[in-house]
C-alpha cells in the first residue's frame, strides 16, 4: 500500500508532534507547517493527499486559508477546532471543509475521520447499493431494507436518508441538509429536520434512542456512519 501524505497546518509544536507520531505509526507520511503562509506554500508544492488545518493560526485565520486552498485543492481538508466553537465549525464546513475534529480529540476518532475522508474521495464512480449489514439501501430502485424486510419511507424520509448515505462518514450541517432535501426556502425551518430525523431513526435504527447510523453532532449537524 502506498503511503498517503498528510499536511498538518498548526502553530502548536506539541500538537504537530503528537499528530505526526500518531500518523507515522499508522503508515501515513507527514508534512508540517507552523503557520498559514508555510501551509499554503507546502500545499501548493507537495499537493498532499489530505490537509489537517487548525482554525486558530497566528498569521491568518484558518477560514481564509481554507478558502484559498479550496480555490484549487479538491482533496479532503479536516478542520481542527477548540471547544464551544460550533459557529466556526459550521462556517468551515460550509466553506468546503470535509470534516472537523475538536481538540482534545481521541486518537481513534482522528484515525476514523481520516479513513472516512479518504474513502469518500476514493469512490470514483458513484455506487447505488449500500449493504450495511442489517440495513440495505439501493438508490437505483429506491429500496430500503431493514433485516431483509422492505421498509416503507415517505419520499422526504427517503431523500433525507439517501443524502446522508451518499455522504457516509461526513458530517452534514443542518442548513446543508435543509437546502438539499427541502430547498433553499427552508434553511431556517429546522423543525422539519428534527421531526424527520426522529421518524427515520424509528424506522432504520435498532434502538432509535441509541442511534448507530444517524449520529447527532451537537450544534453542527448529522453524520451517517456505516457500522464497522
Amino acid at each position: 500500500m502506498n503511503e498517503l501524505e498528510i499536511l498538518i497546518i498548526d502553530d502548536e509544536v506539541q500538537i504537530r508532534k503528537l499528530l505526526s507520531i500518531t500518523l507515522h505509526s499508522n503508515n501515513y507520511k507527514v508534512l508540517e507547517a507552523a503557520n498559514a503562509k508555510e501551509g499554503l506554500a507546502l500545499a501548493a508544492s507537495c499537493s498532499p493527499d489530505m490537509i489537517l488545518l487548525d482554525i486558530g493560526l497566528p498569521d491568518e485565520s484558518g477560514h481564509i486559508v481554507l478558502k484559498r486552498l479550496r480555490e484549487w485543492y479538491n482533496k479532503p481538508i479536516i478542520i481542527l477546532s477548540v471547544q464551544n466553537c460550533e459557529d466556526d465549525i459550521v462556517k468551515a464546513l460550509d466553506n468546503g471543509a470535509n470534516d472537523y475534529l475538536v481538540k482534545p480529540f481521541r486518537t481513534g476518532e482522528l484515525l476514523a475521520r481520516l479513513r472516512s475522508a479518504i474513502r469518500s474521495t476514493n469512490i470514483e464512480e458513484s455506487q447505488p447499493v449500500f449493504d450495511l449489514g442489517d440495513l440495505y439501501i439501493d438508490l437505483s430502485t429506491h429500496t430500503v431494507k431493514k433485516n431483509k424486510e422492505v421498509i416503507k419511507l415517505t419520499s422526504t424520509e427517503y431523500y433525507l436518508l439517501a443524502l446522508l448515505v451518499v455522504n457516509e462518514g461526513k458530517v452534514l450541517t443542518h442548513q446543508y441538509i435543509l437546502r438539499q432535501v427541502w430547498g433553499v426556502g427552508y434553511i431556517s425551518q429546522s423543525q422539519y429536520l428534527r421531526v424527520f430525523i426522529a421518524q427515520l431513526r424509528k424506522k432504520i435504527e435498532n434502538d432509535p434512542n441509541r442511534p448507530e447510523y444517524i449520529l447527532t453532532e451537537s450544534g453542527v449537524g448529522y453524520r451517517f456512519v456505516a457500522k464497522e
Binding site: N84, P104, T156, S190, Q191, R194, V195, N209, S218, G219
Partner: protein, 360 residues
Amino acid sequence: MPALFTYKANKSRQYFLSIGLVVVVSAICYLLSDYMGYRVVALILMVTVSFIAMFYSILPVLVCAILSALIWDYFFIPPYFAFTVHDTEDLLMLMMYFIIAMVNAVMTYKIRQMEKAAQEREEKEKTVMLYNTLLNSLSHELRTPISTIIGATDNMLSELNNLTEQNKNDLLKEISDASLRLDRQVENLLNMSRLESGFLKPKKDWCDINELIHDVANKYTGNIDNHTINIQVKENLPLFKLDFVLIEQVLNNLILNAILYTPKYCIVTIMAMCKNDNLILIIEDHGNGFPPEEIDKVFDKFYRLKNTKPGGTGLGLSIVKGFIEAHNGKVKLENIPEGGARFTIEIPAETTYINNLKNE
C-alpha cells in the same frame, strides 16, 4: 423616612425638601417669637441646617445655610423686615452663623465622602480576599491532575525504572484519567468565563428533547459501571426552541454530578415534560442528597460542599444555573423524602407540535 432623607434622593427633591424644612422651621419660630429670643432662633436654624447636612449633598445644604441666615436676618433681627443690622453684636452673630453653617455643611460632606471611600476600600479588600481563596482552591484542583501526569510520565521516562507492563498500563490509565479530568475543569472554566463576560446569548433553534437527552446520556453508556441512567420522556412532547449545546451542557453537568457523588448502583432518573409551554426537566438520584443548610449555596460560583471529595472546581452547578438563566429559566434543588436529590428545571420556550401531526 429613609427614602426622604438619603442622599440618594434626587437633586430637585433634595432642594425642595431642605428649603421647605428651613421655611417651615422658620415659620414655627416666627409664630413662637413672643416666647423666645431671636438668638435662640439662630440656634434652632443651625440645628436644622446640620440635620439637613447629615443626609443631603453639599449644594442644597449650602443653599439652606445661606437662606436660613437671610431669613434670620430679615425676620428675626431687629429692625424686622429689613436686611440691615444695627447692633454690632448681631452683625457679628450673623457673620458667625453664616460661617458655622458653611463649615458645618462642608465638614459633614467631607466626612460622608471619607466614609464612602472607606466602605469601597473594604468591599474591594473583601473581593480580593474571596478571589484569592477561590484561586487557591482552583489551582489546587488543577494541580492535582497535573501532578499525576508529571509524576507518572517522569516515572515512565526514567531510565532507572523497572516497571512491569502492568505498572506501565496502570500509569497510562492514571495519565489518561487525569487529563480527562483536567479537560473537564478547563471546559467548566471556559463556560464560566463565557457566562461572566455577559456575552453569552443562547443560539435558539428547534430541539427534539428526546434526542437531546439521549445524546447526553449515551455518552455515559459503557463508561459507567455502577450507575444506571433511566430516561422518562413524556410522549407527544413538542419541539422546543432552545440552545441545544447549552442545554446538553446543563444535563451533562447534572448527570456527571449525580454519577460522581452518589454511591455505587444508584439510579439517575431524567424526566422531561411540557407544562404551559414551559419545558420541565427533572434530574433525580437516590444518593444521600445535599446537607439542607448548604442547598442554597450549591449554585454559587466555586462553592463546594463541606466534607466533599476533592476533584471538582465548584463551577458545574453555577454553570447549570447560568445557562438556564440565559434561557430565562429557573432551576431548583431539593432533597427527596425517600433520599436523594432532585433538580427541577423550568424553561419558558417557544414550542411547536409539528412532530405530532400526520406527515404527508
